[in-house]
């Protein structure tokens, strides 16, 4: 899940300066769970913008805000409604998906933070930095790229104190977690293998994946 945070209202209002007729969109997936762009947040934003002198010409919560064709279809309902700006209450991907579908400026209402899991309804924790070369099979399912503050691939630094990371006494040292789990599974030998330095060519950006082409090249 992509975890987002709402931008400060004053920043949102500031970015919309000059716009008159605003369309507000959200996303029924991650942004709803993050509570940044679901039905409730979109409605509240409509009220706020109206109170601040904008004309809100429409609102919609996209089914999947990052699916280009889906969004295109959903936008058809506004084809006869003039608007001069879209405020997108979703992740940066959703904002760009919208930008690719409309010919007016789009503005983000959220900051996109990380790919993470929902620990409970209001607690999200980062889980994957999308490194392009997953090592979880060697690290007992704990991601050292994301959960170790230095993304170390060969075991811990010397910085842990009482099992906690040197960067934050509230956060467990990822490598101690990895050690404990590998030990439990009788897989400590995995820790003894020296891993290659992580290469960075594999996740160069901007990246695209074309399944058809890949299949054809197989």
């Amino acid at each position: 899940m992509i975890i987002t945070k709402s931008k400060k209202l004053e920043d949102v209002l500031d970015s919309l300066k000059g716009a008159k007729k605003v369309l507000i969109t959200g996303c029924a997936e991650c942004s709803t769970v993050s509570r940044t762009g679901g039905e409730n947040e979109v409605k509240a934003m409509a009220d706020t913008l109206t109170a601040n002198g904008f004309e809100v010409v429409g609102t919609m919560v996209c089914e999947i805000g990052c699916n280009k064709n889906n969004v295109k279809k959903e936008l058809k309902q506004f084809k006869d409604t003039p608007y001069d700006a879209v405020l997108v209450m979703s992740c940066g991907d959703g904002v760009q998906t919208m930008a690719g579908n409309v010919d007016v400026p789009v503005y983000p209402a959220s900051d996109t933070m990380f790919l993470g899991e929902v620990e409970r309804v209001t607690l999200f924790s980062q889980a994957c930095k999308m490194c392009g070369d997953c090592v979880l099979g060697r690290t007992a399912g704990v991601c050292p790229i994301t959960k170790c503050a230095k993304s170390l691939v060969n075991g811990p630094c010397g910085g842990a104190k009482n099992g906690k990371c040197e960067t934050n006494p509230d956060v467990d040292c990822a490598w101690i977690l990895i050690y404990n789990r590998l030990k439990k599974f009788g897989q400590l030998d995995k820790l003894e293998v020296s891993n290659d330095d992580k290469g960075h060519k594999i996740n160069l950006y901007p990246a695209t994946i074309n399944l058809k082409e890949e299949k054809a090249n197989e």
Binding site: K161, T167, L191
Partner: protein, 313 residues
Amino acid sequence: MSNLQKALESGKFAITAEMAPPKGVDFSHQMSVVEQLRGKVEACNVTDYQSSSLKASSLGLCIMIKQAGMEPVLQMTGRDRSRMAIQGDFMDAAAFGIENILALTGDHPTVGDCPESKPVYDLDSVGILRAAVQLMEGHDCGGNELVGNPPYYYLGASVTPVYEPVELQLIKMKKKIDAGAKFFQTQGVYEAEPMKPFMELAEKYGVYLMAGIIPLKTAAMAKYMSNNVPGIRVPQDQIDRLNAAKNNGLPEGFDPKDKDVKKKQSKNQEEEGIVMAAEFLAEIKEKGLAHGAHIMAIGAEENVPKILEKAGF
């Protein structure tokens, strides 16, 4: 071959002293410390933005030390440099005749004084060692051949003996040995016992272990370090000993708020700390728990000769 390598390989109890470059461009204090250490230590070990506090670079001071006819150990962390920058700095080092390298992961930028700096960590300590070995083999990280003779390095790394679970540190030490580390220096230690498994591993693989010694300055500092600095544990009896020494030579009924009294109390504790460091150094040597020692005086490098003298070096 570096003095440090010669000393360790010949079985001499080798000593290195750590120093930090200045936060600024005046190196005169550091160079005066180098003079005080001349002939007393095998090498001066120069930190690389230690504790993520921005200073002049390790390489710059190492070059100056080398040019003054003393031997440096270049500390290299992965915090601020990509693999390209690390190998480039290593080539500079070799060009200036610097052979000793200490590869470290490096403290995270957020614990230091430029917390917005990008944490690079392209290579960890193991990767940094491998990067140096690649150069020694005559090629760079892209597999491209170097022009001319390949450099030679004497490679070291660090270990943290007071660590839970200690097995994790030992596994990593072995990886560093596999990656090319020939000498190890420990985080500051105050007890002989935790050194043992690391010494055993060092002996098993024919590498050298240098005990990290951080002389204590005051009981308060000892307590603070013990509670807050990763890998540091100062036993209570050593803190008590500093406290007991605090009021030596002060007249009865002294005013604890008096400036001179406070100064004397600090001095007393610092002197006791020097004696304690010397005793520990002698103990480590006598018990054969290390092949040498690395003294980290944290700004009080002028005390290093006193410690060595008191320890009978």
